[in-house]
Amino acid sequence: MKRTARVAGPVLIVVWTLVPLLWLLSLSLKGGDHIDDGRFWPVAPTLRNYRTVFRTDLFTSALRNSIGISLIATVLSVTLATLAAYAIARLDFPGKKWMLSVALAIAMFPTISLVGPLFDIWRTVGLYDTWPGLVIPYLSFTLPLSIWTLAAFFREIPWEMEQAAQVDGATPWQAFRKVIVPLAAPGVFTAAILTFFFAWNDFVFGISLTSTNRARTVPAALAFFTGASQFEQPTAAIAAAAVVVTIPVVAIVLAFQRRIVAGLTSGAVKG
């Protein structure tokens, strides 16, 4: 009985997490006639919906916007966070605690409270419906998580090794590049993944601060998607689009499972 329990637990977890995904996949493979047959699995699987989705300008431009905006936000956020986290982990200066508290407060901020004023400000300064108009809010809301993750990570790095390398005849640049960068890279990378997930996932700013294909991101576009024709149900097409944008997430999770777990838990609990 104990053995069944040991197998049942993990199996239940995997089933619980995968059923909604399989359902989405199956829905995306259903043809127009079978979309409301009430079955879980598709009777006659077809890739037609994927063709529809990739021929829809709303989706392809949203995909482009999402990838571009998320990547830019990730690179900028991780760069700024690395500077701040290095200072917090390595240097002694007044205001250090305060900096961490500000980051914490911002992580708890209800983003929707800012949407009205940002909408008003962005329209005035010309950032409404542009890439920077989304990159900037993504930056400020991903910085807290990046800073904690990186600060926790940098505290664990044996910085003395840099000096040791210099004693052994390495130049400061070599010591930094060959010793410190490899040690710090996993942490920076973890922060980048978490930041990318946030930007990729955002919906509130996406629908409020954009209005056209110029900057509308995937989550926002999905909510406004109407399908190939106005008279056709967009369900299967939305499912196909949803599967497409889930592929990168699954790929990242498969490749970097261990780092994501470390990143999510390092800043959160440490005895």
Partner: protein
Amino acid sequence: MGPARRGGERQWAERRLGWMLCAPALAVMVGVTAYPLVQAVWLSLYSYRITDPAGRRFVGLRNYGVVLTDHLWWSDVATTVLITVITVAVELVIGFAFASVMHRIVFGRRVVRTAVLVPYGIITVVAAFAWRYAFALDTGFVDHAFGLGHFAWFGQRTSALFVIILAEIWKTTPFMSLLLLAGLAQVPGELLEAAEVDGATKAQRLFRVTLPNMKAAIMVALLFRTLDAYRIFDTVFVTTQGAAGTETVSFLAYRQTITRTALGLGSAVSVLLFVSVVLIAVVFVKGFGVDLARARGER
């Protein structure tokens, strides 16, 4: 040059470097939140619709009076609190079960951890669509699979809220379970062994040893998830658009500012939302003594 003076200079240089390195991040974080927040407070004192800029006029606190005496505000608050309490409570139980399984697992550790991260990483809107279509009258399989005939899940409050809460729990339990897993890892093994030797039952070991020793992790997980659940927006937008009595506070703020473009009234709702989030945080930190320094890994 005496070592003391050199030390002073060094210290000063270190401080300056510290501030310089933190300044860009701080500027972006505060610039995008503080200024718009002040703007929101300012706008909330006006009667102002974007479609009628000329009609903008100062009304003082009247917008707050309008919101707080409106029955819609209070029913939205009740809905939001209901969703938050049920979601977080169920997640704590399921998340703890997941964490225990992951803590003890020997085979398939990688597979389970990867599976658990998928809901965490997936776009909330995508997850909400999956659940909406699963329960929908036309495309759904749930009614079919459970022999419910043609039950309209989104037609009434209770069942619509059930689907919304289920979607939220599915999406965010992984985050909870990973935080709890980190907490479980800190429970000293010797304590559990000692308790077992002394003849403590399984339940006693759980409630007397394991849970008290991971209190910090539990409280931090609860705080983060409560604040997050209280801001629920995406799932409601996709599943019901706030119909059938499922509107939440965030959705009301969005509807007033963006859909109705009533920036004055909408800002009042936004400010009230912000205040309630601060209140929740204060209750957790002061009332339950959540140690945030510990949460940041400083101690």
